[in-house]
């Protein structure tokens, strides 16, 4: 573990809890799913942004704890919110209690909707773990809660080479968009393209560490994704994040999926 801050925070960043960039040798890296403020009963905690942020980081703490990590080890965070003013007013303070003086690289986004309409904040982390690569298995995928979802809450990469895919969309090899407006066909095509790129990189669906799914409608996506994802991952799911946004690069795209994989 050798997490390194590469540039002193600039005056504008002071007090905001993040650094411009963090580097680390990727000996062992943990990717978390996007976590939200659900209680142990699976229901969102009451009280709005403050309690949701608090609960989100408690859950992330448990995922880090399973891997022997602490918030000091976090390399990168992505904070998705649906209400920036509420996050700025109460969410930031709730978050700060967990990070203390430690500052990861960070991206903050205001999105249209998260998994449920009442979810105000979702956070995912990349974490530099202590220790040397432990060989097999290359990926250790785990949950710290019984969530029932088709994803894992944490995935540890033990010494592999990370593969970063461009966001994959439903385009044919000639560039044409597959069936504008057809969610099922776009879901199939996006995963088909992901499969092609993974194979070209020496990887497979089981090598996927993390996926981030950007959709124009979470409700529509949920009606179509199940069979397609099940066929693709065959039960071996990565950590994942699902976000609803107002647009993608081409107005005909309904979904775009970014994947990080690892090969030995």
């Amino acid at each position: 573990m050798d997490r390194r801050e590469v540039l002193a925070e600039r005056p504008v960043e002071r007090g905001r809890g993040f650094m411009p960039g963090i580097s680390a040798t990727p000996a062992r890296v943990l990717f978390t799913a996007g976590l939200t403020g659900r209680g142990s009963d699976g229901k969102l905690v009451t009280g709005g942004m403050g309690p949701q942020t608090q609960r989100t980081f408690e859950r992330l703490q448990a995922i880090l704890g399973h891997a022997g990590a602490r918030f000091d080890d976090v390399v990168k965070q992505v904070v998705y919110v649906t209400d920036y003013d509420a996050y700025n007013t109460v969410g930031r303070a709730a978050r700060a209690k967990f990070f203390g003086d430690s500052r990861p690289a960070s991206t903050g986004l205001v999105v249209r909707r998260l998994a449920e309409p009442d979810i105000l904040v979702e956070v995912e982390l990349v974490v530099d773990l202590a220790g040397s690569p432990q060989g097999e298995p290359l990926l250790e995928k785990y949950d710290v809660e019984n969530h029932g979802g088709e994803f894992r809450q944490g995935v540890i990469v033990n010494g592999g080479r990370l593969v970063y895919l461009a966001g994959q969309v439903a385009n044919e090899p000639d560039g044409a968009v597959s069936r504008p407006g057809d969610w099922r066909r776009q879901a199939e095509k996006v995963y088909e393209n992901i499969g092609h790129v993974l194979r070209a990189a020496g990887a497979s669906p089981a090598s996927v560490v993390k996926e981030t799914t950007w959709v124009l409608s979470i409700d529509a996506w949920r009606q179509h994704r199940g069979p397609v994802r099940r066929a693709f991952y065959d039960g071996d799911y990565p950590a994942s994040t699902l976000v609803e946004i107002p647009g993608l690069a081409n107005p005909d795209f309904l979904v775009e999926i970014e994947v990080i994989a690892a090969v030995a």
Partner: protein, 128 residues
Amino acid sequence: MPFSTIATPQARPVANYKMATRMESGRLLYISGQVAWDASGAIIGKGDARAQARQVLQNMRGVLQAAGGDLGNLMKITTYITKIEDRPAVAEARNEVFPGELPASTLIVVKSLFHPDFLVEIEGIAVV
């Protein structure tokens, strides 16, 4: 390079970016989402997505250089814009600094960024 570029005829990029990159050696560098402020915190290019994108990329280059690299070390970038109409201006600014091919790339239209005046934010993963 400490990373390799992955390509396949079966799935091609829809613009001038790499379909995927695989890290081969070196240190992994996660770069925060960069926005169009200068070192003092003043927003550069208020209302002008092209000017903002240029500043964003300049800030990103600063982080890379502090880590001993430059824009060529980027494996992956994600560009967040707040209006789809700004896409051509942002693409133009990116093409100025990535003369051939962009790194593996994703472009997302978000509801907003963490300040109402920010029109574009770019984050990156590099190997240095």
